[in-house]
C-alpha cells in the first residue's frame, strides 16, 4: 500500500528544486527514448522546446495556440479551487461559439467591430448556460457535476453538428457541413505590425488573455469572492462555520468557468475559423484541465502552463516536419513531461509512506 502524507512544512529549497528536477528527468528520459527509437535526440529536443521560439512568427503562433487554453484554464481554476469539478469546458466552449455564431450569422451585413462585444457576450452566455445545467442539478439535487458536465460535452458536439448540417448550413456549400462565413463585424482581425505585416495568426483576441490574467489574479488574491473560493476548497468545514453559502459559490464558479470557456470559443472561431463547422474545439476544453493543474491553480501559473503546453504541441509538429518523427512519439514525450511535472509537485507537498497493506 502507498499512502500520501502531507508534509507539515514544505521545504523552500524543494519548491525550486522540484520543477528543475522534473525537467532534468524529462530531458533524460526523452533523450533515452529518442535515441532508442533512432532519432537524433538533441535535435529532437531542440525541435520540441526551442524551435517554436526560433522565429517571431512562431512565438506568436504559440500565443495563438495558448490563448484558448489560458482562458478556459483560468475559469476552471475557480472551479477546481473550490472543489467543483467541471470537466465539461469542451462543451461550454462549443455552446459559446455556437450561440455567438448564431447571432453573428443573423446579421449578415454588419461591419462595425463593436458587434464583437455582442458576440463575445453571447459566447459567455452560451457557455454559462451550458454550465448552468450541472450547476443547478448539483445545488438543487446534489447530482455529481463531473458526470453531468462531461456528458453534456457530447450533447454539445452532436448539437453543433446538427446545426451546421441543418439549420445553419450554407446553401452554397455543395452539401458540406459548413455555415456561411461570418460578417465582417464578427471577425477578430489579425494584428498588423508596421513594417512586418502579420505575424502568423496573431490576432486581437490575445488582448483578452492579457486582461484576464491580472483581473483573475486580483479576484483570487484580493477580493472576498476569491477568499471564499479558497476557503471552500481548502477547508469546507471552516467555510461552513464562516457562513459562506456553498451552493451560491458552486453556482458562481460553474457559471464563470462555463462563460469563460464560451468566450474562448468565440475568440477561437471568430479569429481563426470565421464560420461554424462541425468541429470547432479540438480538445481545448480537456487540455485546459491539464493546464489548470500544471499552473498550480494560479492565474500566472496558468499563463505559463498554457504557453508550455502550446510550445510542446507546436514543437511536436516541427519535429515531424523536419525530422519525420510521428506524433505518437512526441505525444509520449508530452506524457513524460506532464508525469514528472505533476510528480514533482506532489512529492513536494506529500511524503510517501510504503506499508504492508491488505
Amino acid at each position: 500500500m502507498i499512502t500520501f502524507i502531507p508534509r507539515v512544512k514544505v521545504s523552500k529549497n524543494w519548491v525550486i528544486i522540484a520543477p528543475i528536477l522534473s525537467i532534468v528527468f524529462t530531458i533524460f528520459f526523452g533523450l533515452l527514448i529518442f535515441t532508442f527509437l533512432g532519432y537524433n535526440p538533441l535535435e529532437t529536443l531542440y525541435q520540441i522546446f526551442v524551435s517554436p521560439f526560433s522565429r517571431i512568427d512562431r512565438i506568436s503562433d504559440i500565443l495563438v495556440k495558448a490563448c484558448p487554453l489560458i482562458i478556459i484554464g483560468t475559469g476552471l481554476m475557480l472551479c477546481f479551487k473550490s472543489n467543483v469539478w467541471n470537466i465539461g469546458a469542451e462543451g461550454q466552449f462549443i455552446m459559446g461559439a455556437l450561440l455567438a455564431g448564431f447571432i453573428a450569422l443573423s446579421f449578415p451585413n454588419i461591419e462595425t467591430k463593436f458587434f464583437l462585444l455582442i458576440t463575445i457576450l453571447a459566447g459567455f452566455v452560451g457557455g454559462a448556460l451550458w454550465a448552468f445545467i450541472p450547476a443547478i442539478l448539483k445545488t438543487k439535487l446534489n447530482v455529481n457535476e463531473i458526470l453531468v458536465s462531461l456528458m453534456l460535452v457530447y450533447v454539445a458536439m452532436l448539437f453543433i453538428d446538427f446545426i451546421v448540417r441543418g439549420p445553419l448550413r450554407d446553401p452554397m456549400s455543395f452539401g458540406f457541413p459548413l455555415s456561411k462565413p461570418y460578417p465582417e463585424g464578427a471577425i477578430i482581425n489579425k494584428i498588423p505590425f508596421p513594417g512586418i505585416g502579420f505575424l502568423g495568426q496573431l490576432h486581437y483576441g490575445i488582448l483578452f488573455v492579457f486582461l484576464l490574467v491580472p483581473i483573475s489574479w486580483i479576484f483570487v488574491n484580493k477580493t472576498l469572492g476569491g477568499f471564499k473560493i479558497n476557503v471552500l476548497g481548502s477547508a469546507p468545514q471552516a467555510a461552513k462555520f464562516a457562513g459562506f453559502k456553498q451552493n451560491s459559490i458552486t453556482l458562481t464558479v460553474l457559471l464563470l468557468s462555463g462563460g469563460l470557456a464560451g468566450v474562448a470559443g468565440v475568440i477561437e472561431v471568430s479569429a481563426n475559423i470565421g464560420q461554424l463547422q462541425p468541429e470547432v474545439s479540438f480538445g481545448y476544453g480537456f487540455t485546459a484541465i491539464i493546464v489548470a493543474f500544471l499552473g498550480r491553480l494560479s492565474p500566472v501559473g496558468i499563463l505559463f502552463a498554457g504557453i508550455i503546453i502550446a510550445t510542446v504541441k507546436l514543437g511536436a509538429d516541427n519535429a515531424q516536419m523536419t525530422m519525420g518523427i510521428p506524433k505518437v512519439v512526441t505525444g509520449l514525450f508530452e506524457g513524460i513531461l506532464l508525469f514528472f511535472l505533476l510528480t514533482g509537485e506532489t512529492l513536494q507537498k506529500y511524503k510517501i509512506k510504503w506499508s504492508e497493506g491488505k
Binding site: 538533441l42 526560433s54 448540417r165 455543395f174 452539401g175 470565421g274 468541429e279 507546436l314 509538429d317 516536419m321
Partner: protein, 374 residues
Amino acid sequence: MRNIIILLGVLVVGAVGFLFYQDKSEIPVAEKETSVTKVGFVYLTTPGDHGWTYAHELGKQMVEKRFGKDVKVSVVENVPEGPDATRVIRELAKGGNEIIFTTSFGYMDPTLKVAKEFPDVKFEHITGYKRSKNVATGNIRFYEGRYIQGVVAGLMTKTNKIGYIGAYPIAEVIMGINAFAQGLKSVNKDATISVIWANTWYDPVKEADAAKVHIAEGADVLAQHTDSPAMLQIAEKEGALGFGQSTDMSAFAPKAQLFASINNWGPYYIKKIEELRNGKWNTGDGPHHWAGNVWGGLKSDMLIISKFQNMPDEVAQKAQEALDGIKTGKINIFAGPLIDNTGKEIIPAGKALDDGALWGMNYYLQGVDGKVPG
C-alpha cells in the same frame, strides 16, 4: 543543499546551451536547392494500415519511389481541420516546400488562406471545391467503384437486402449510394438498399454496430462509405459479404471481402509534381468548381479495383464487364431515365446527369429505402 541547486542549475543551463548550439536543424526559409523539389503533405490522421490517410501515404510512397533524390518529402500527420491546419500549412510553405498537398476536405479554407500569403507556392487541395491562382483541387470518382459494387451485390445477395453504412449525408456520399443502386438495378430488380448513417468518417465501434443492425435486419451484403475495416470484420464473423473502402481490406476479412475500391493518389501526385518541375503546373479553369480540376476515376487509374474474390466466376465476369464498360464509356452510370424513390422523374431517357448535377444530389434513386436526412 546549495550545492545541489547549483549543480542542477549548471546542468540545465548546459543542456539548454547545447541545444541552442545545435542550431543546424532549422528549416531553411525558402532556400531552394537546385533540382530538388520540396513537397509537403498534410494528413488528417496517422496513416495506420488502412483507409483514407493510408491511401494518401501509399501515394506519397509512390512519389518517393518515382523521383528518388529529386524530391524531399515532408509529412505532417494528425492535423485537425481548423486553425492548426492553417499553421501547419504555413510552416510547410515557409519551410520552402514548393508544392503542398492538403489531403482532407476540411483543409479547404486554411489552404486558401495560406495560399494567398505564398503566391509562389503551389497548393493541391484534395476533395475541395474552392480554387485560386495557386490552389488546384483534385478528387476521385469514388462512385464508379460503387456501381460495380452494386452489380456484384445484386448477384450475390440471397435475401435481396443490402445494408449500406453512410458517413454523412453529403452529395459525395449520396451519389455513391445512388451509383450503387444503379449497379444493383442493372442485375437485380428486387433487391433494395437500406442506409444507416454513422455520422462519422471513422469510428470502428459505430461502424460495427451499424453492420450488426444491418445483418440482424436480414442484409447479407454490406457496403460502406466509412473508413474502418470494422464492417468487414463483422461480416466475416457473421458469414455476410462486403466491400473494402479506400484500401484493400482483404487482410481483415479474407472470406468476406468481395473486392475493394482503392483510392490511387500516386499517379495524380506524380503528374502534378512533374508539371511543377517542368513549369507547366496549372489549376485548370475557373475559381469555383464542384469537384476540382482533376476528377479522375477508373479510366485514369485514380480509382482501381482490387481482385474479385469470394464470388463465382460468372459474377466476377459480370463485374469485369461493368468495370470495362465504365472505363470505355459504354456504361454511363447516371444515364436517364432516372427516377427517384418517390417516383419523381429526375431526368428523362436519352439524357444523363452532368457532373454539376451529381454534386447537387439530395435524393435517393429507385432501389434505396427511406429518404435523405436533413
